[in-house]
């Protein structure tokens, strides 16, 4: 029971995180456009959870967050689910395998994952929808959004650590200092 309680609490926190992501994304972030793009809070949270809690938690969180995002954003259900699931798993595995030399790597990892997930998303849209200018979108949408996501990851990570939703960076854990 004593071992189960922290785990349940952790799951509860992550659940709350998804609810908060829905609120923040729909109420705030979607209205905030920089260089014509908005950040993807769901994806950033998936990366942060993957970084902090490993591949298994990362992919499960990615699955749930993706499913939620599919429903909220009226996307084909299963698309973001698949992309975020893969992102959470990949980031978790990367950190488990190589660790993080610096917390600034989180910014870079988030940007890379954002770019990769948008590329997959774009390819899917290209394959199923009307022909879109994928390369034009790469320049006008994907790259700026990836930069935006990466930059937003740092304050979100610090905020979630302060709120104790994510584990605080210890001596051997990533630090922004």
């Amino acid at each position: 029971m004593t071992a189960l309680a922290p785990r349940l609490l952790s799951i509860f926190k992550l659940g709350l995180l998804i609810v908060a992501a829905v609120a923040i994304q729909t109420a705030l972030i979607s209205r905030l456009r920089i260089l014509g793009v908005t950040a993807d809070v769901f994806l950033i949270l998936v990366v942060l959870v993957g970084v902090s809690r490993g591949a298994v938690t990362g992919m499960v969180f990615g699955f749930v967050a993706g499913l939620t995002a599919d429903i909220v954003f009226l996307d084909p259900v299963g698309l973001r689910t698949l992309v975020y699931l893969a992102a959470g798993f990949a980031v978790g595995r990367y950190v488990e395998e190589f660790g993080l030399a610096s917390a600034w790597v989180i910014v870079l990892v988030t940007a890379v994952v954002s770019l990769a997930s948008q590329t997959i998303y774009g390819l899917f849209q290209f394959a199923t929808g009307p022909e879109g200018a994928l390369f034009a979108m790469m320049r006008s949408q994907m790259l700026p959004a990836a930069v935006f996501d990466g930059l937003l990851a740092a304050p979100l990570y610090l905020g979630l650590v302060r709120l104790r939703v994510l584990p605080p960076p210890g001596a051997s854990e990533p630090s922004f200092r």
């Binding site: 829905v22 609120a23 729909t26 109420a27 705030l28 209205r31 905030l32 591949a55 298994v56 992919m59 499960v60 699955f63 993706g66 499913l67 599919d70 429903i71 909220v72 009226l74 084909p76 259900v77 299963g78 698309l79 689910t81 698949l82 699931l85 893969a86 798993f89």
Partner: protein, 309 residues
């Protein structure tokens, strides 16, 4: 459930991927009233109050942000429009230049057609590309030379737009004093070293028009008994084998008589504005010299209202 964490993780990953693909498949295969679509619509309905509330709460910030964005955009637009304005100004200047050049060239044709210059004269139109740096010498450089048929001592006349019969700008400019392949130097008639045989039109008073250090023209050696009056036209006489007869030089401005001098000294106001010479015509073909100026007298009316520049 496998005990090996790696296998368990892979199994979980595979399961979730399969579930995702299943969801995708179901979503695309089910009708719009299917379960997943209904869930989406339910989610949309559940979130709409939140979005509405958030929209109102965020509106002031959004307005502020938009205002900043618009201000920045306006600034960018301003800069862009300034650049465009400068470009358009440049184009306007170029067009005006082209228009003026067109008028000038048209004027050259008009001059020949109007008989102001000899009909058999051939012209080379040249652009002034350089001017003497001091007033001690009065010359200009033009962009045509021996390659275009220009040789030494060819007469050069003005190429200004004719305005309502006025001779302004159409007078004698000077003569070629140096020739290169694609450039020549023209001594202006206002050069202190220049001397042109001329007559006062109508009264047949001959003399020499010379340049002065002040940049003006002085007609000397005109006999005192000739009734020279102001505003009479002075033209080349054709004597000297350089300037053909009848090229207008200028108007009599003042007539001076000194007791000790047996000649009149006449100040001539040139038709050509030498300070703004841009294009000239070099007379390249053999033209008629000497033998009076009667023929040109019929072309250039004495009292035409000709105005100096």
């Amino acid at each position: 459930m496998p005990r090996n964490p790696v296998v368990r993780r892979r199994a979980l990953f595979t399961t979730l991927v399969v579930v995702s693909l299943l969801l995708l498949t179901v979503f695309f295969r089910e009708p719009a009233t299917g379960v997943l679509h209904t869930v989406q619509q339910g989610g949309l309905g559940a979130l709409s109050p939140l979005q509405s509330l958030a929209s109102r709460a965020v509106q002031p910030f959004e307005d502020g942000w938009r205002w900043i964005g618009q201000a920045l955009e306006a600034n960018d637009n301003n800069q862009e429009m300034r650049v465009q304005l400068e470009e358009l100004r440049g184009q306007l200047v170029a067009l005006q230049e082209a228009s003026q050049e067109n008028e000038r060239l048209k004027g050259l044709l008009d001059m020949r057609q109007a008989g102001i210059f000899p009909q058999d004269a051939a012209f080379v139109v040249a652009r002034v590309i350089g001017k003497s740096p001091t007033k001690w010498q009065q010359w200009v450089q033009i962009d045509k030379g021996s390659a275009e048929g220009i040789v030494l001592n060819q007469p050069v006349v003005g190429a200004t737009i004719p305005v309502a019969g006025s001779l302004s700008g159409k007078g004698l400019v000077g003569k070629v004093i140096a020739v290169a392949a694609h450039a020549s130097q023209v001594q202006l008639v206002i050069d202190p070293g220049s001397s042109v045989a001329a007559v006062v039109q109508g009264i047949r008073a001959g003399g020499f028009v010379e340049g002065t250090v002040a940049g003006g023209l002085l007609m000397d050696y005109v006999e005192r008994d000739k009734p020279v009056e102001e505003k009479l036209v002075v033209v080349t006489s054709g004597f000297g084998q350089i300037f053909p007869k009848g090229i207008p030089i200028g108007l009599v401005q003042t007539v001076g008589e000194v007791d000790v001098n047996i000649y009149k000294q006449i100040e001539v106001r040139p038709f050509v504005d030498f300070s703004s010479l841009e294009e000239v015509m070099v007379l390249t073909s053999p033209v008629q010299f000497g033998a009076g100026v009667e023929a040109m007298d019929s072309v250039i009316p004495r009292d035409t209202g000709a105005t100096a520049p």
